[in-house]
Symmetry: C2
Subunit: 293 residues, 2 copies
């Protein structure tokens, strides 16, 4: 595995591979890798000649009162994990390599998609995400780029950007990796106190219960949201619900009645730690008045 | 010359050339080609294996009360001119190919650079320019892209975007082409009445006179601006000056004292037709109290 810090070195190495006709799979991360990230690398390893992983805690996607400074970092551990996944190139740029003095260009997906869900409490977040991802796409020029379904809104926003700006690559979305009790893996889970860590299992449990309600015929978004909120409230008494939403999986538009491809997404704060989770359900038909066959 | 309308066809043809190791030179235009555009094609022809020209009147760079609908178009003439310049690929996309329903992603260079000069009267113009140019760069993936110095602010903004978003290409800036009387060539010159066409020659004459003043030792920006305004006012009595500015050539920051690399830019309306012109002067030293030797 080559460890690369400069854009020039990255371009030189990748230019040679590209000229040799090698396909490039790219996994952009903020490091502090967990099994979710590793599943993206494994998928990239299966599907490409060369696997590039970037480790960069991107300042432009953090708000002024967020956890940029305390975001967990462990370059040595990340390096070992990438080696064990047979990653070819680890790109570890310093901040000034990505955002030099005078940097002032932003890529933004505008409209409802970046105004709902996480954007309500993180209004500048997705603009930071699309800007860094556009830059990394231009640096790496991958054939395929891998993202986790855990960040459901990010995935939808990036797919919109790729389509709108004609990036010549395929976005591959990989399923959420979960801990034994169902908690979605996240670098931010390390922030949780033991009690909050235990309580946080209710997030996935409440989503799984909602999925069962829907399988049983429930088609009212408000009934689904109410059920999730009640379950979280009962199990984690000091949890603060940021949002629980039932939306169209492609446009993220709010739904009253569940139909088609839907996304149930939530963000909940445990102490200072904000966690997100979601489930996608595809091809929902209308309520058939009981468990659908 | 191949004429291509779809993004898919463009990608297929260019993918083959790229795999064969051919370099790609790209000239993005809004059509109604004149000698300025042709000079960009000639330069691209000299420096690349393959020359791609796009002809697309980009709606996102026009304001609501601007001349999008009346902007001059002549596809047949443009096609003949491109053939005569040995262009390899003419990309003529329809609007819906570039901006399909649901399009919502924009690239914007923020800050002073896109708030001064032309941005004062055209506040959304450069966001439209950077968005279309980013899209075309992603579609064509050129090694070199050619722009005219006539659109001085556009050149600076695009160079900033290329640097900030890590586009892997070289921006080549070509000198302004002028009519016999000095008027900078522009597709919009066809709008001018015979009297305004004659009057408009004063734009370059006033810039040339300013250049002589500076060669003679003048270093006061306001004296230069005053001289240009006086000359235009005397020669073209119904011309309306949008701006006359002396700025740093790289940052476009206003200058009081001329020093270093400077840009003198102006925009003037003749009837409904807004014309722009500029001169760049490099490496200006301080005033030496008379003609500098």
């Amino acid at each position: 595995m080559e460890i690369v810090e400069s854009k020039t070195a990255l371009r030189t190495i990748l230019g040679k591979s590209r000229s040799a006709g090698k396909s490039i799979g790219f996994v952009p991360t903020m490091g502090f890798l967990h099994a979710g990230h590793l599943s993206l690398m494994r998928r990239a390893r299966q599907e490409n000649d060369l696997v590039v992983v970037s480790i960069f805690v991107n300042p432009t996607q953090f708000g002024p009162n967020e956890d940029l400074d305390t975001y967990p970092r462990d370059a040595d551990r990340d390096t070992e994990l990438m080696r064990s996944e047979n990653v070819d190139i680890a790109f570890f740029p310093p901040v000034e390599e990505i955002y030099p003095r005078g940097f002032t260009t932003f890529v933004a997906v505008e409209g409802p998609m970046t105004q709902v869900l996480c954007a309500t409490s993180r209004p500048t977040h997705f603009r930071g995400v699309t800007t860094i991802v556009a830059k990394l796409f231009n640096l790496v020029k991958p054939d395929k780029a891998y993202f986790g379904q855990k960040d459901a809104q990010q995935v939808v926003v990036i797919q919109q950007m790729v389509k709108d700006l004609d990036f010549d690559l395929q976005v591959v979305v990989c399923p959420i990796k979960r801990e034994a009790d169902g908690l979605a893996m996240s670098s931010r889970n390390t922030y949780l106190s033991p009690r909050h860590r235990a309580d946080a299992a209710v997030l996935f449990q409440s989503l799984a219960e909602a999925q069962q309600m829907i399988a049983g015929g429930e088609r009212s978004a408000s009934a689904v949201v109410r059920s999730i909120a009640t379950k979280i409230g009962a199990a984690a008494q000091d949890a603060i619900i940021d949002y629980i939403a039932v939306v169209d999986a492609e446009t993220l538009a709010d739904l009253e009645t569940l139909q088609g491809d839907i996304l149930i997404a939530l963000a909940v704060k445990f102490g200072k730690t904000r966690l997100i989770d979601n489930i996608r359900i595809k091809g929902l038909g209308p309520n058939c008045g009981g468990p659908c066959r």
